[in-house]
Symmetry: D2
Subunit: 269 residues, 4 copies
């Protein structure tokens, strides 16, 4: 079968030292045949719950750091864009452009990102059905420059399920794959509890690996995790992150599971 | 009691003729003592379901039209912004700035809009609880320039309730009022059926007035409606709009209801 | 217009003294022309969260008390049934039979209750759409004995909205009225927070009157409230009840509102 | 690891011939070491959407058939009860008693079933959180006769997710296992679309195996499927059933997956 695409990193860029500490683990994982790793970090957290929350180094410093991580590690990189005019410059540095879930219906942002010719990873809005993502795909496909092989993948990261809670409708994985595009499962943000911490977003790390296993069993093409050597020190999403020291063994287990699922699919004919 | 704030208009700007046809009705309504009317129209529909959908005249032409409507009618005007760098120029023309529901957590957009010194109408995200809007209020209040009396109001426009359907949690009206800000009820968008028309958003006009009545009964400070002389010709939301010829009598009924509710509150002491 | 049907009482039967204390207030309200009052109390709370929770006096003692309340007060009475074989005996004492929301799809219970020839008040399941209640109506109408003028009314009491929370979709009132039957709004149970108290169901009394106002504005035919002279001493639902001393003035306000709504409807033609 | 518990059968009892045709396949599967099979069929569908829908042979004929299936096949059997007074007689024939999801909070039904001394399989109500099922467990544990080793298992079968749709919150599997009881995943009913067929409940068979795989990946102890040689001829749930000819290979794949998951858990230590 196809190698798993693994998108991982520290949520938000903090220091080159931290980034390379994480990238070193990812490089080691990337040596396997059954996985392709992309380093992900945000330069700006543009929709934090509160004004006082830390946001990141900004686009200039952030892209400089991402470029350096890419060069030092040899890994492709990705980050998320929030405004249409950020797309072109991000496209010059990164190999994959991520569109945040809240912004999945902003036409200009999708178009600007698609115009870079780089592939996109669009997160399904918490307020959208898997089937609604068809129109996102069409917006991108209707924009991508000619003679450009890039495309779009769609990401399940949880759907609104009453105030302060998300649910993963695991059917979204085959439903979005049926749109003809690869699907990413974002295990880290799926376990967010919006507003759960009063002025910040809570989470539940113990559910990350079980949900990732379920996503692999449902046929996801890619997984997205945040990891950090000291999750409790991360400026955001610390409650959902996999500790860096546990990351490689977690990935090992998920790749073992994926191998069996591929065999099952082959035998199911 | 306080006069009702009535925000109304044709959804998207089409022609000056259409705008003034609607504004004429609003001017007549505005002569009453118990209502203050604001003319609303969008210059750009930035998150249409599909790429092919019509979007509007754009910001330059749109603001020119809004300015002219304001001058000819004497009504204050409002429109929605989608990007931070649109805020300043919109603030020079309009009297109230609307933040779309999908963008209610985009910090830079809220800050740029608040920096104009004009009051904001922030729609509650379909993925947010009424209580979560506290952080939106704090983002605006933490930004508004000193010696500036403007503020923020919050708008109930429906919450995600399973794929393709919204629900109005009417408790959101008193819950958001308890944050110390006026609350708007957007009857038009509350009856949207996202994705309900295949590549467009459907709706259900018959529920608009009943829901507006319920919102008045729950104590809303403001109502928002879209109206059009020929709703079926509107580039968007036609299925939810009140026909212009029925608009004034609808408002009459709602104002009569509001008067009784004020009396009830006074007697409840 | 039609008088409002007001269903009210102490939730569960405790003592004759308590029942008559409440019934006395209801009798006074019932003297008005614009309201018809039915006394409601349960003889058994058959689905309490925990095994240890108090349940009530049981069917024999409970029906004896209901009969006596009816005779002493002159009010019609209603109670809820949980098993098909309870229907016949309840039908001999009560004037209206209530079907609990969790049991709204239990065919045998609906049929047994309909066979009594008494009208039914079926609560919409928290897991059902307003449109789904069409099949409930058909089950009853397909059963009611010939030459029997009784019928069915449907009750909105909140719909599942994420774990531990209900939402009132106020559109359910006109949608269920469109099925050709009267609609009841149960303001007391709509504000339950299932599981909210750990081993019991919580609530939020402040929302009871605002939601009842909204329901009147949406055209409800009937209202259902629980009331108690000391809500904090009620074996269940105390957090949602209207204190008895505030009950009559609450009803006064709602009847004033209903009068205006009827005038609005008449003028809307 | 523990063998998988596999609960399977034809939904509702039709004929001995059909039951034995299905039981023969189950007996063959039951010869494996890694699975224990229980034959399940209902004697009455007590909450069909419409009055006209077929319900089954009734309790007397149904229990006679279940007893005969058990004797001929050697398989343990299970069925669902709807009224407290059905429990004792069902407990004399069946090895496991199933409580329907709509009835998961009916205290008397749970108590009567627990009093039989047979283990219970209680379906989580579509309106309940996984954590709410703690009180169900306590109701059963507070009732089970002394010196009786039987217990309770809890079943995930989908949660209300907007009108006409269920979602599987896969987190419910580890959350209910954390209550100290085995968890069943009912793949067949999870893909129901309530009201989806107008007067009947629709479904989506293609999602059955993917969801079952996800449940195995999340650590479910048991799986529940309906199967039929000609699903389109089943009186109910045909749209969700696995065709009998595909059943054994489906189970084979799920057991292969479960084996790897057990190894992953062992290595995760």
């Amino acid at each position: 079968g196809q190698p798993l695409l693994l998108i991982a990193g520290p949520c938000v860029l903090q220091s080159m030292e931290l980034s390379m500490q994480i990238a070193d683990v990812l490089v080691r994982i990337n040596q396997r045949d059954d996985v392709n790793v992309v380093f992900k970090a945000s330069f700006d957290k543009a929709n934090r719950t509160s004004l006082a929350a830390k946001r990141g180094p900004g686009i200039d410093e952030g892209l400089r750091m991402l470029e350096e991580v890419g060069q030092q590690s040899g890994l492709p990189t990705t980050t998320d864009v929030h405004l249409p005019d950020q797309a072109a410059v991000v496209g010059q540095v990164c190999d994959l452009i991520q569109i945040p879930a809240f912004l999945a219906r902003q036409t200009d942002l999708l178009v600007a990102a698609a115009m870079t010719g780089k592939p996109l990873n669009v997160k399904k809005g918490q307020f959208m059905s898997p089937e609604d993502m068809q129109y996102v795909v069409e917006k991108v496909h209707g924009t991508v420059p000619e003679n450009c092989s890039s495309g779009v993948m769609l990401c399940e990261r949880g759907t609104f399920f009453g105030y302060g809670r998300l649910v993963n409708d695991m059917q979204s994985i085959p439903l979005m794959r049926a749109l003809g595009v690869p699907v990413v499962f974002d295990a880290t943000h799926s376990v967010q509890r919006p507003g759960g911490l009063g002025g910040a977003t809570g989470g539940n790390r113990e559910m990350v690996e079980p949900l990732a296993r379920a996503a692999v069993a449902m046929g996801t093409d890619a997984l997205f995790f945040e990891t950090h050597p000291q999750p409790e020190l991360s400026p955001s999403d610390g409650a959902n992150m996999i500790p860096l020291e546990a990351f490689e063994s977690t990935v090992d287990r998920l790749l073992a599971l994926r191998k069996v699922v591929a065999q099952m699919d082959a035998s199911a004919g």
